[in-house]
């Protein structure tokens, strides 16, 4: 134990002399802090933008009141008035932004058919989203492994190359103890940095202090352990520094870039989603076909869904709103199957990734982070479902005015339903992921130890 401590102290002295490593550590710290700053400001921006939507709705209501003084036809209101379905970021979203920049965080809705409104996108700079988010998750998943590699690619080989290894081993120090001490020192340094950044991020973002704190920290520790395990494994081969550096970077490249890219190809080929374009074309055809069909036919179909409004009196006018909204409703009903197919295919894509992520630890860890922060595809699908439900509730709010032909008054705006949605974290994915991560960590250390044994034996 005393020797172990001496070795640690020696490593500390070495580190204090090595400007390069210090620079790298400071750079990682700065990158981490920038990641935290970027993530939290991005979420703050989204929050502010969501807040501004309330004002837009208010202005719209004022405009409606001005445009339709006194009692109005609910049909006019449904056509000109718009509200928003909003997807609030979770308090953890700033740590791992996931797909929150690609998918819109609000949807502008009118009483018209839903399917022509549900998939509208937000103003997004494609070059920016291609480059991706520089959030804490990126720093932890991508950059920390590189720091670990830089710190430990030559733990054993450098002693050999400088000729200090025989000198060291002539002391009462065993090889595994020496490697263990060197790795421990670096582990302490890296873990200290990673945990410090995580805690800073949690405080900065004012996350809700629940079980996710433990989950996040545990994942960070295990992930760093995994990469040290990989470094240990490569060191066990006892090759020269250049070989180690290339191999470690090669493994990083494979796990963090090449395998994910191949997985992405595999998933999109295996699980295509052709429904989107078909759906958007079909709903338009049905909605606009409504103008050309006999009014009674449209209404009969509509009353099958909403029997409470059944009314057999024939519409004589060229145009009435209730008929107009009925064929908009029919447009949605015509593509109900396609729409649910589409959302299910997207979910199936996500599920497929969850199964295949055993092939790449970084993909698994990014998945855990996104699940914890509720910022991945399922969160957006949840939002789409919630927005759909909201649109239904808007219909249920307006239909009595339309079909019972009740005038819409200014006071009715106040009781119109409003929408708010926050996706909940997916603990299932988190726990499943941490289980897989644990196995990966175990695996690298076992293989590393076996290799060390085999090497020392020969």
């Amino acid at each position: 134990m005393r020797i172990f401590r001496i070795l640690l102290t020696y490593e500390w002295l070495n580190f204090r002399k090595d400007r390069g490593l210090q620079l790298l550590t400071v750079l990682t710290l700065v990158a981490g802090l920038y990641g935290i700053y970027y993530g939290t400001t991005e979420v703050e921006r989204q929050r502010n933008n969501i807040e501004a939507l309330d004002l837009l709705t208010e202005q719209n209501v004022e405009e409606m009141k001005e445009k339709f003084p006194g009692e109005a036809d609910a049909g006019d209101i449904g056509y000109y008035h718009s509200t928003f379905a909003v997807h609030h970021p979770d308090s953890w979203a700033g740590l791992s932004l996931g797909q929150r920049d690609v998918n819109p965080f609000y949807i502008k809705l009118r009483l018209l058919n839903l399917q022509s409104q549900l998939y509208d996108t937000e103003n997004v700079n494609p070059l920016k989203v291609l480059a991706g988010n520089f959030d804490l998750a990126f720093v932890l998943v991508y950059l920390f492994p590189l720091l670990i590699i830089a710190l430990s690619f030559n733990i054993l080989s450098v002693e050999k190359e400088q000729g200090t290894l025989p000198l060291l081993l002539s002391q009462p120090v065993s090889l595994p103890l020496m490697v263990g001490a060197k790795l421990s020192f670096r582990l302490l340094l890296v873990l200290g940095l990673a945990l410090l950044l995580s805690v800073v991020a949690m405080v900065w973002a004012r996350v809700s202090p629940d079980a996710r704190v433990t989950l996040w920290l545990a994942v960070v520790v295990l992930y760093c352990l995994f990469w040290f395990g990989v470094a240990f494994l490569v060191a066990a081969l006892q090759k020269n520094s250049a070989f180690n550096a290339i191999s470690l970077l090669g493994i990083w490249l494979l796990l963090a870039i090449v395998i994910p890219a191949l997985l992405n190809v595999y998933v999109s080929v295996k699980q295509p989603v052709p429904q989107a374009l078909a759906l958007t074309i079909k709903q338009r055809e049905v909605v606009h076909g409504g103008w050309d069909k006999p009014k009674q036919e449209t209404l009969q179909q509509f009353f099958a869904r909403y029997p409470q409004y059944t009314d057999t009196t024939e519409i004589k006018e060229r145009f009435v709103w209730r008929w107009y909204y009925a064929f908009h409703q029919l447009g949605d009903m015509a593509v109900e199957d396609l729409a649910s197919d589409y959302l299910h295919s997207l979910q199936a894509r996500y599920d497929m990734v969850q199964q295949l992520n055993v092939l790449s630890v970084p993909v698994n860890v990014q998945g855990i982070f996104n699940a914890v922060a509720a910022s991945d595809l399922p969160a957006h699908l949840g939002f789409l479902q919630s927005a759909t439900d909201y649109h239904t509730s808007l219909r249920e709010f307006y239909y009595p005015f339309l079909f019972n032909q009740v005038p819409f008054t200014h006071a009715d705006f106040a009781v119109e339903p409003r929408h708010s949605f926050t996706a909940s974290p997916d603990y299932g994915v988190g726990l499943n992921g941490i289980f897989k991560l644990g196995i990966s960590v175990l695996l690298v250390y076992v293989v590393g130890l076996l290799l060390f044994r085999a090497r020392s034996a020969t």
Binding site: A52, G98, K128, V129
Partner: protein, 473 residues
């Protein structure tokens, strides 16, 4: 002498089994990326072509309708993929594929690949460009890091120099030798890609595709050359192979991983993107100050009416030789489209400002320069996306105005019921998108071209100057 050194480097690299394994892996990935890219290109292109044909037929064969009903029925523009885009998906996976084109309203481009994917897509896509931009430099680093350090470590550098070769000549020879090796690795895949490109046949003229492909290859060759010289220079500046390697890997990480993301994020932080909701509200407010096509009591409509009365010397709308409904609609459309276009241009400007950080960072980082050029040639960059959006908007505007004109000339004032025969709709040309010429694409990336040239000059002049002055002990 230079030739024999180059030959020696070439042959000894081919004898190195580790290098052969790595380059075989890269070659395999390149071939896989080519085939995968072509597959997904064909799949998406087929989907979009089918969708476009469907909506074109729907428009041409629509029922007998009132022209303004038809303007609301509208059409769709599906973005066709440029034929070289299978080599570099670029922004295509992050931009929408379909725009609904209707009267009075400009809709967003929806259904991007990224929105239909889990966050896995953010790890990057397996394309030829990805292999060429990220992995090839790594292979080059591996190939060249020992160029001088190995000779120093074994003491052969002094021997070499004693033969009367200058350091500069030796460096050139090594660069030459390594260039041949790199050419050997990338050539098969680029040749295959070219054959596939021209056998598959795109929707754009072959000459445009050929020119784009040619420039695509040239830019990448320049990029590889920069990395080769850079690696040789770094190797010459170091005494030990391992430190040279670590330096080069650090350069690679910062150029290919760190800086691209940092600059894009910095751009977004510096210039705030307005939300679509806010933009739509602003457009709506400004449009409301102008003429409203659907509002007969509008003051500006009244002014327009008086103007027409004066022009035709009549006193009532019924006497006008043209249908005032159509005229009013056209005036409204003109006004609202003008306002929208202004706001859209402002938004584009914000995006361009955000992107300019990455573009100018190309002067510090050749990876960024070649990435922009690669996307530009592949037709998957930001400018091509905006070009498509503008073409779609122009088509939408002309369609709406064409139908307004029909309403103005073929229908009576106040007529909301007449349905024109469906042969009327066949007068309209369907939406057709053509990828702009190579010259246009290149002009968007002048800074990146300059950056690449600057880097070539820097490594060739500055780099070799550094090599000349190294200390050979």
């Amino acid at each position: 002498m230079v030739k024999s050194i180059a030959k020696k480097e070439f042959i000894s690299t081919l004898r190195d089994s580790r290098f052969m394994v790595l380059s075989a892996a890269v070659l395999l990935l390149l071939l896989a990326a080519t085939i995968v890219g072509l597959h997904s290109y064909k799949q998406q292109q087929a989907e979009r072509e089918l969708a476009q044909t469907t909506v074109n037929e729907q428009f041409a064969n629509a029922a007998d309708r009132h022209p303004h009903r038809m303007a609301h029925f509208g059409s769709f523009a599906f973005r066709p993929k440029s034929s070289i885009s299978f080599l570099d998906f670029g922004l295509d996976s992050f931009t929408g594929a379909s725009v609904f084109l209707e009267a009075h309203r400009q809709n967003s481009a929806n259904f991007s690949q990224a929105q239909q994917s889990a966050s896995l897509i953010r790890f990057g896509e397996m394309t030829v460009a990805f292999v060429l931009q990220m992995l090839l430099p790594l292979l080059i680093i591996f190939l060249c890091f020992g160029a001088f350090t190995q000779e120093k470590e074994t003491g052969t550098l002094k021997l070499l120099l004693s033969q009367g070769v200058s350091l500069r000549q030796a460096a050139w020879a090594k660069v030459l030798g390594y260039s041949q090796v790199v050419a050997l690795v990338v050539a098969p895949s680029l040749v295959l890609a070219s054959i596939l490109l021209f056998s598959a046949g795109g929707f754009e003229p072959a000459s445009n595709a050929l020119l784009r492909m040619l420039l695509f290859v040239v830019f990448y060759l320049a990029y590889f050359f920069i990395f080769i010289v850079l690696s040789v220079v770094v190797s010459a500046l170091h005494q030990r192979s391992s430190t040279a390697l670590v330096t080069l890997l650090a350069i690679w990480i910062s150029c290919c991983i760190f800086v691209p993301k940092a600059t894009a994020n910095l751009g977004a932080t510096l210039y705030t993107t307005p939300t679509k909701a806010q933009m739509d509200a602003d457009v709506h407010e400004e449009v409301a100050k102008g003429i409203d096509g659907h509002n007969e009591q509008d003051e500006r409509a009244e002014a327009l009416k008086q103007e027409l009365f004066k022009k035709y010397g009549v006193n009532s709308l019924e006497e006008l030789p043209v249908n005032f409904d159509g005229i009013r609609m056209a005036a409204g459309e003109e006004h609202s489209s003008h306002v929208y276009q202004e706001h859209f241009d402002e938004l584009t400007e914000v995006f361009e400002k955000q992107n300019s950080i990455s573009v100018y960072a190309g002067l510090l980082n050749p990876y960024l320069a070649v990435r922009h050029l690669s996307m530009g040639m592949a037709g998957s960059d930001f400018e091509h996306y905006i070009h498509f959006q503008n073409k779609a908007e122009t088509y939408r505007y002309n369609l709406a105005q064409g139908l307004n004109n029909i309403q103005a000339t073929r229908l009576q004032y106040g007529d909301k019921t007449t349905r024109l025969s469906n042969s009327t709709w066949k007068e309209f040309e369907p939406f057709r998108y053509e990828v702009p010429g190579t010259g246009w694409a290149l002009c968007n990336h002048v800074v990146s071209v300059v950056a690449l040239l600057f880097w070539l000059l820097l490594v060739c002049v500055g780099g070799f100057k550094l090599i000349e002055n190294i200390n050979v002990v």
